[in-house]
């Protein structure tokens, strides 16, 4: 027992010892002190204002200001993104600026930017209008001077119009020969018949509905001409290019004009007056064009100006964002602190690992010297009834394994951590199911690539799948190494056996090897030195042999891992000084498991060593059914019958042993404590009220001891263990099943795809066979089988291993740290 105590402590075995510390900070220097602690990142503040809503807390205004600033920063980021500029990843190394300065600066920048945007928008709007006007003018020319070709496809009404038009033109030409032409006659016509027109631009997607609406309102008494606009126009609202249509509506009557204008307005169509006179039109077009080119230069200059402003902001944006994020975190933390009675100090409480105590004190001392404040920061340790958070110091390598365990449940404070064993047992059990050194090498290459690029991949954002792979790269590494090892033992390389360790121990009976499958081989040399003899492959007894081997092996692994679990429960009980658990839980559990399945493992090993032909099923089953019967030919060693009876008796005794004593002892202990309670409680509560008025230890009432509940709980536990011993052992047979499935699947792909293709003497068929084989290997064997073996290994750890000892009801240590703040709100 002393030996165990003298063992060196394993860092990962127990979570860090924690302490509850109280900090008393002078109000004026609290902000900076907290920022120092944030840089250290080893103190988890407790929320002392839990009952207050966020806007009733002390520093709510500062938090609001930070939120406002981060809103501005998001606005800048958005603008920079829209302008197609890049954020500079490395922030400019300027001197630190104060928050107030930054706030003012940001406000100024925002104001400037909004103004610039506004101007740009105004210019853009004018530009768009001019552009549309130009298009309308161009198209209007076509509408007003339709030639035969153009209007051939138009409706007959138009043709009629044109007809009338041309007739009229002919007669009119006599009067005014100078103005000969259809276009010029249009005004004359409109004067005479009261036909007017409205022209404008409408979004292409709305054009059809627009036309229908016009038709309905005017009851068909109008003529709608449209032509697609040449260039798309930037829509100001969505900043996208929009296809437009130029239209021209001919109608008659004042009433109709009003309605049409209203409809245009409703559809967001921009109307532009087009002079009917072509000379005037040309003149206006010229005008518009010159103004357009002017505007274009102004617009460009404006954009350049804005881009320059944005890139100067972008240069520092990352830095500002970090700063604001930190400030917000600091104020959020300050909001968790309480004012003391005098309102001059802030009182904070937090969890801190004991090893970090000196560091925290050191930092605060330094701060005190720098700040040169009159009142120092008081840091002292309090005691608490609350369970401290769980904190494991992990590194790159162990982190993934700790995550695997945490995914099931975070360890109770100072509880034995299964991750210590998971580091090896997890990849090993995986490999038992994934034993193939060809596949193992593929996995290894993948893992090595991930590890080699660790620096680069670690700094960038990955997709969820890649993130998972990258996070588990060291798990992958060990999994691949172990599967190479297991693959060598199974002697499978993409399911092909190799003679790595010398030649096979077996030989054919004759030179032709014709009877190899029916009568079998003869043994000539020594046993194959390592792993499975390659001659087993393809032989008649291959499957019975491998099944027997893998099944027994799985039981051995299972029994040893479950034993390990129970032994860890012993260390847990010892650590927490719980002798009842050792005596009435650990001991009977050990006895029960080992008297049944430990004995089975012993039989397996004896059978392997002696080469006996005994039937182990028979032995185990008749051990229960008729324990006193003679074993006959199944006897493996002397005294086996007696031993079996003893083991069975011990196992039967172990069940009530783990069921009954514990609840009764707990009940007795409770009544004893209850009798002596009056003195004990009085003494302690007095002591506390004297020296620590604001201690975190709240005197708590005696818990109700409910015997029936405890008893039922214990009963459930015992039954679960007894049944679990059987079902969990059976559950480990999945090792055999998956390993069998893996090897059979890879054999099928090898023989039925690759070898089949190689049977033909055709290069193309070879190629196709190879491709199918490669895809099957990569996707089915390397990806899906890996996943399934991973999940089964996970289950074996979470259920079969951890339920023996792990309670997993703790909570994680989340220190206030700037390092963990990155990008969480983006």
């Amino acid at each position: 027992m002393e030996y165990i105590d003298r063992l060196p402590s394993m860092d990962l075995m127990r979570s860090e010892k924690m302490m509850l510390a109280q900090l008393i900070l002078p109000v004026e220097s609290a902000h900076r002190a907290v920022s120092y602690l944030g840089q250290l990142g080893l103190l988890q503040f407790r929320d002392l204002n839990d009952d207050k809503s966020p806007f009733q807390r002390t520093f709510v205004n500062q938090v609001k200001r930070c939120a406002e600033m981060s809103r501005k920063l998001r606005f800048f980021k958005d603008q920079i993104h829209k302008a197609g500029l890049m954020l500079s990843p490395h922030p400019a190394s300027e001197t630190d600026i104060e928050l107030e300065e930054l706030e003012a600066g940001l406000a100024e920048h925002e104001h400037e930017l909004i103004e610039m945007n506004h101007n740009c928008e105004k210019l853009q709007k004018t530009y768009n209008e001019l552009l549309e006007f130009k298009m309308v003018l161009q198209k209007a020319g076509d509408f007003l001077m339709p030639d035969g070709n153009h209007s051939a496809a138009q409706d007959t009404e138009l043709d009629e119009n044109v007809h009338i038009n041309s007739d009229y033109a002919d007669s009119a030409s006599l009067l005014e020969p100078m103005r000969h032409g259809y276009g010029y006659m249009q005004p004359g016509m409109s004067d005479q018949f009261g036909v007017k027109f409205v022209s404008g631009v409408i979004c292409k997607s709305k054009a059809l509905r627009f036309e229908r609406m016009l038709f309905r309102t005017t009851r068909g008494n109008m003529l709608f001409n449209q032509a697609p606009a040449d260039d798309p126009i930037v829509d100001l609202a969505s900043n996208e290019m929009v296809e437009n249509t130029v239209f021209m509506v001919f109608f008659s009557g004042e009433q109709a004009r009003k309605k049409i204008h209203k409809i245009c307005e409703a559809f967001g169509a921009n109307c532009y007056p087009v002079p009917e006179d072509s000379i005037k039109r040309r003149q206006i077009t010229r005008d518009v064009l010159s103004r357009l080119s002017e505007l274009e230069t102004t617009l460009d200059a404006g954009l350049r100006h804005r881009d320059a402003a944005l890139s100067s902001i972008g240069f520092q944006l990352t830095k500002w964002m970090n700063m604001v994020r930190r400030e917000k975190a600091i104020y959020d933390t300050l909001n968790m602190l309480n004012f003391d009675v005098t309102k001059k100090c802030l009182v904070g409480e937090g969890w801190c690992p004991i090893f970090a105590k000196t560091m925290v004190i050191f930092i605060l001392d330094i701060f005190h010297n720098i700040a040169d404040s009159q009142v120092g920061i008081i840091f002292h340790v309090m005691d608490s009834n609350e369970s401290p958070p769980t904190f494991f110091r992990t590194n790159h390598f162990t982190n993934a394994y700790q995550e695997i365990v945490d995914a099931y449940g975070v360890a109770k404070y100072q509880e034995a951590n299964p991750a210590v064993y998971t580091v090896i047992t997890f990849p090993f059990l995986f490999a038992v199911m994934f034993g193939d050194w060809g596949h193992g090498i593929c996995l290894l290459l993948g893992a090595l690539v991930l590890i080699a690029r660790e620096k680069r991949l670690g700094s960038q954002k990955l997709g969820s799948f890649m993130e998972m792979l990258f996070g588990g790269r060291y798990v992958l590494l060990l999994m691949s190494l172990f599967s190479i090892y297991c693959g060598v033992i199974y002697n499978e390389f993409f399911s092909v056996p190799f003679h790595i360790f010398g030649s096979s121990a077996y030989k054919c009976r004759d030179a032709t090897c014709s009877k190899a499958r029916t009568i079998g081989l003869i043994k000539v040399g020594d046993t194959y030195p390592f792993g499975v003899d390659p001659s087993w492959r393809g032989s008649r007894s291959e499957l019975p042999f491998l099944n027997s081997l893998k099944m027994k092996m799985s039981i051995l692994f299972g029994v040893s891992q479950m034993n390990l679990g129970i032994i860890i429960s012993y260390f847990n009980a010892r650590f927490f000084n719980n002798s009842i658990d050792i005596k009435y839980q650990f001991v009977p559990q050990m006895i029960f498991l080992n008297s049944l399945f430990g004995y089975l493992s012993l039989l397996i090993i004896i059978k392997w060593c002696t080469g006996s032909q005994a039937d182990l099923y028979h032995v185990m089953i008749y051990m229960f059914l008729s324990p006193f019967e003679d074993l006959g030919e199944n006897k493996l060693f002397w005294g086996q019958g007696v031993l079996q009876v003893i083991l069975l008796l011990v196992a039967v005794i172990a069940v009530p042993w783990m069921l009954f004593p514990k609840p009764f002892i707990l009940k007795r202990l409770h009544t004893e404590r209850f009798q002596g309670r009056a003195y004990g409680i009085l003494g302690t509560s007095d002591m506390y009220s004297d020296d620590e008025p604001d201690s975190a230890r709240h005197p708590h009432g005696e818990e109700e001891f409910n015997f029936s509940e405890v008893f039922v709980h214990q009963m459930i536990h015992s039954i679960e263990f007894v049944l679990g011993a059987v079902s969990n052992t059976a559950s480990y047979l999945r090792l055999w099943a998956l390993s069998l499935a893996h090897s059979e699947l890879s054999t099928v792909f090898y023989e039925k795809v690759l070898l089949l293709a190689w049977g033909y003497n055709n290069f193309m068929i070879h190629l196709v066979g190879l491709a199918v084989f490669a895809f099957a290997t990569a996707f089915i064997l390397l990806m899906m089988e890996t996943l399934s073996a991973f999940l089964h290994a996970l289950r074996l750890h979470w259920v079969e291993f951890q339920n023996k000892f792990y309670s997993g009801d703790g909570y994680k240590f989340k220190p206030f740290s700037f390092a963990s703040l990155t990008d969480e709100d983006d």
């Binding site: 809103r71 606005f75 609406m213 209203k262 409703a266």
Partner: protein
């Protein structure tokens, strides 16, 4: 096949029902309302809402907030959720979801028509429209001069067209007949929706007919109260009541001849479900009636979530969210106008 929805409902409706129940769990609770009622400024409200599901919609609003912005953003969230559900929905759920918006459509039509009548700017009116009730050519409503034109030009393309059959007249539009039009449309809409739900059958029909009957009865009471003292004849009033609901047909007869609020009360108290609502009010009071009806409605809507495999949860969710937005609007208004004592007057707690 009543009683067998569980077998087939989840094939098409399971995903969306899960979604809508998830949305429902995001509704503000009484604790949230208590906190909101303690807010001093609109920024406080924004800060509190940023911890709820409204957070992403409000976080980019610059600081001097207005009540309209808050309401607009909250409505935007509702609309986004609705659109998400609508795009995922298959028949007949998609039709059911569309039915939910027709009420808003009627309101929007009335808003625009009334607005144009009073020469308001169309763009300004459009901003006031509820985004759920928008349809393509809504802006062209301004062109119409009378009901017939309204129908022929614009509404013939919308799902509201069938509801118009009863109110096509060539009379020019004025406030009175717009209001009559609204109620006629609403009547037709409710009846159609009711028929549609009956056609769906099962739990949907059962729960929706209860909810819609309540809606119809509430409208009947409101119509009665609002038409007391106007030139609306009894016969016309009678025509505006929907032809289903708890009050149909005998209650309608009584309501049609009511001349003051106490007579309405007398008519309504014969119906046990409404007795409790009217028993809360003192005689002659109609101010708090709205709130009492809203509370009763919220209660019924919440109950519809107790049953599974039916569409009424979608209707209930949309209504509850709208109630929540009304609550937020009231709270924000009270906070903005320093009338915090009145904050509890109109807030209907949902949970």
């Amino acid at each position: 096949m009543y009683g067998f929805e569980a077998m087939t409902f989840n094939i098409h409706g399971g995903y969306l029902e899960a979604i809508v129940r998830g949305y429902r769990s995001g509704l503000l609770t009484a604790a949230d309302y208590n906190n909101l009622c303690q807010c001093e400024t609109l920024d406080d409200i924004k800060m509190h809402l940023s911890a709820t599901e409204y957070g992403p919609y409000l976080q980019n609003e610059p600081s001097p907030l207005h009540t309209t912005t808050i309401v607009e953003k909250c409505t935007l969230k509702l609309v986004d959720e609705y659109k998400h559900m609508l795009t995922q929905a298959t028949e007949p759920l998609s039709t059911f979801l569309e039915y939910i918006t027709y009420g808003h459509m009627i309101d929007n039509v009335v808003l625009i028509v009334t607005g144009t009548l009073h020469e308001r700017d169309v763009q300004e009116l459009l901003e006031k429209c509820h985004p759920l009730g928008m349809f393509d050519s809504i802006a062209t409503l301004a062109v119409a001069q009378n009901m017939r034109e309204l129908y022929r030009l614009v509404l013939v393309d919308t799902p509201l067209a069938p509801y118009f059959s009863e109110c096509i007249t060539s009379e020019d539009l004025d406030d009175m007949n717009i209001e009559i039009m609204r109620n006629t449309l609403y009547k037709a809409y409710l009846e159609d929706f009711y028929r549609f739900c009956q056609k769906l059958g099962g739990a949907t029909a059962e729960i929706m007919s209860d909810l819609l009957a309540f809606e119809a009865d509430r409208r009947a009471v409101n119509i009665t109260i609002n038409s007391i003292g106007t030139e609306l004849t009894r016969e016309d009033r009678r025509k505006l009541y929907s032809n289903f609901g708890l009050l149909y047909p005998y209650g309608h007869e009584e309501l049609a001849i009511c001349e003051d609020i106490d007579q309405v009360r007398g008519a309504m108290e014969k119906y046990p479900p409404y007795q409790s609502i009217f028993s809360k009010l003192s005689y002659g009071e109609s101010q708090m009636l709205d709130k009492a009806f809203y509370e009763e409605e919220v209660k019924r809507l919440c109950l519809s979530f107790e049953q599974q495999f039916h569409y009424a949860v979608f209707f209930a969710y949309m209504r509850l969210r709208e109630q929540e937005i009304r609550n937020l609007m009231w709270i924000s208004e009270c906070v903005a106008q320093n009338q915090k004592s009145r904050v509890h007057d109109s807030v209907v707690f949902i949970f």
